[in-house]
Amino acid sequence: MQGPVADFFRWLDDRYGLYFSPFTDAFDGERILLGLRTTVELSLTCIALSILLGLIGAWMLSTRSRLAQGVVRFYVQAFRNTPPLVQLAFFYFAIGSLLPSSGRSPLIDGYGWAVISFSLLAGAFNVEIFRSGVEAVPAMMVEAAAGLGFSRLQTYRYVLAPLGLRICLPALTNNLVNLVKTTTLAYAIGVPELLYAAGQIWSEVMNVREMMYLLLVIYIALIAILVWVMERWERALRIPGYTP
């Protein structure tokens, strides 16, 4: 590989024996980039789906139907109190084997099951987060909306959701950060995300130490970006004269 970055890492290798192969070897570099892309795609997809699930779940909790409430509570407690890795294995192996497969390839591959499993997990936490946010909106505001003739759905949409969101944003950020960290579990079912790519490289080239450090730096950078985005959003949502 060419360029000053590659030269720097080649120098590191010559001088200190620190072999950061993704920077000096084009093939390894590509593998890492592919792994990074998969991780980012997986993270973004799961973030979006989990937020959707959280909203639906919080809404279902606010209806009068005991059945809807029971279903959501069961869902939340089941995913919050069981190990994420076992959940993933359950979906990929147990449920996966139940689905029909078109020819030799299964209907949903490892990536697909990872999306389903992680979205459900993060969604369960989001239900709790959104519920707490909505619950913290003063009841008088809901009364005002009712007095104006807003239906339940309208009250949720125009009053509870915007105000509740501002209240629960820090907790939501926390949960999304954890979601990004959880994507590493997909390694266990062979999804070619970042950790998997790094593992492939170090098993060939034996540069475990360097790959470890590289991984840690990349993940911390990814999370820093996510936190920054969430903080920007929080700032954009700020209302003059109002502190939730």
């Binding site: 008088m140 505001m141 009364e143 005002a144 909306a145 009712a146 007095g147 104006l148 003739g149 807003f150 239906s151 309208q154 125009y158 009053v159 915007p162 105000l163 501002r166 209302i239 003059p240 004269g241 109002y242």
Partner: protein, 248 residues
Amino acid sequence: MAHELGAPVVVLREVVKRFGDYPVLSGISLTVRRGETVCIIGPSGSGKSTLLRCINGLVPVTSGSITVAGREVNDAALDPIALRRDVGIVFQQYNLFPHRTALQNVMMAPIHVLRQNRAEVETRARELLAKVHLTEKADTYPGELSGGQQQRVAIARALAMSPKVMLFDEVTAALDPETKKEVLVTVQELAAEGITCILVTHEMGFARRVADHIYFTDGGVIVEHGPPAQLLEAPREARTREFLDKVL
């Protein structure tokens, strides 16, 4: 008040409300005619706020009947939106939506509940803000307004639905004396225009000036009622006298 009073628009008959076993209203009957301004006074805990909330259906009654503009409030088949359209309510704690500007607060309900055209709603909203003397605050957020200003926006917001009856639940109780005045003036102007108003209030001076009829409630029943001159100067019941002595 120097305007014509029309047909009855709000009629309560033997309204009883219990929260569990605890009785709050024990047989309230009253009639409010179109264009009338009615004040409800009484000690705290006498059920006045609950009464208002029963009139616009926020709190269901245990027994008895409430009719508003010909609609039976208790009727299960009643469309709540139709009722809320006819009855506007302003609370003690203004309850403006903090994430919307004053103008947006006023516009929200007609747009989303009544599904009226946005441009028309905006024109009317600005007119209403002008009526409550807050034209220049149209684009400010509630957090930047004083209590009195917020309360006036809340009044404009309730008026935006073009209600037949306006309910005011101790709207000046949370304000300091200077800002109280600006809100009372606004309510007085509304009453003068002929809007039917039912006010729960502690402001006796205001009641004397503005009300057509005053009801005194205590312990969940109407103890006495009459025109302000009679009720406030020469009350018939001892309980009324006791209360007025304490307050005036």
